[in-house]
Symmetry: C2
Subunit: 112 residues, 2 copies
Amino acid sequence: MGERDPTLMAGVPELVVLRLLAEREMYGYEIARTLKVVSRETLSLGEGVLYPALHAMEARGLLRPRPRQVEGRTRIYYQLTARGRRRLARLTANWQRMSAGVARILGTSGHD
Amino acid sequence: MGERDPTLMAGVPELVVLRLLAEREMYGYEIARTLKVVSRETLSLGEGVLYPALHAMEARGLLRPRPRQVEGRTRIYYQLTARGRRRLARLTANWQRMSAGVARILGTSGHD
DNA sequence: TTCCATACCTCGCAGCGCGAGGTATAGTCG
DNA sequence: CGACTATACCTCGCGCTGCGAGGTATGGAA
């Protein structure tokens, strides 16, 4: 299996969380589990990353929290705000541009 | 034009510098200029990033410095060490795995 | 009662990108 | 000669962010 490189993860949590929530509302634990499956372990966020990230995004008005009681336990579902959707679009564009740039460097010599 | 997102740049300088030096030895200023051209501005590293990165990599034994006098100015050419080549291989693998994971999340819904 | 899964949370460390600012030389233009 | 630009190196401190460790509480199964 492959090792994880923490430094390469910068900015990724915000991006993928926004992307997941664009599909449907989810709660924290669910996000963590979903990410593991969809990304095949390569992107798994620990709770020490996930919850602070969710709170920060909420504080910035990207997410709207919707707490619910389910079988005696509290789940905090999150929905994307309009601002969150805009943020996702921009972040996605930035990611793709940057990713393409790196790919161009990695893809051997300078064949344009 | 697209904006840059600093947080997405984490780990990128080390990766691209190693990749460039794998091709041929270069000096700092040259690396900065080359990067601008090859990546079409999307990856340009300021000198406040580049030089500290080079020193850190040298300290970790990834690069071998080769100072030369050229027309009265000092250039420090850098060559990859064996360790640097190994580091490049691992970093590249990590990058691709992570990048693929994000791409899978971004690529719409959960088809597969 | 013990244990595990669910479900939330916080704290402090460490790493890294970045802009601003600094030094010095060579060549050009007026 | 003096001013300016390009080359070529460097450092410092801010601020952000990922992360592991540790903590609380409930419900259900062994």
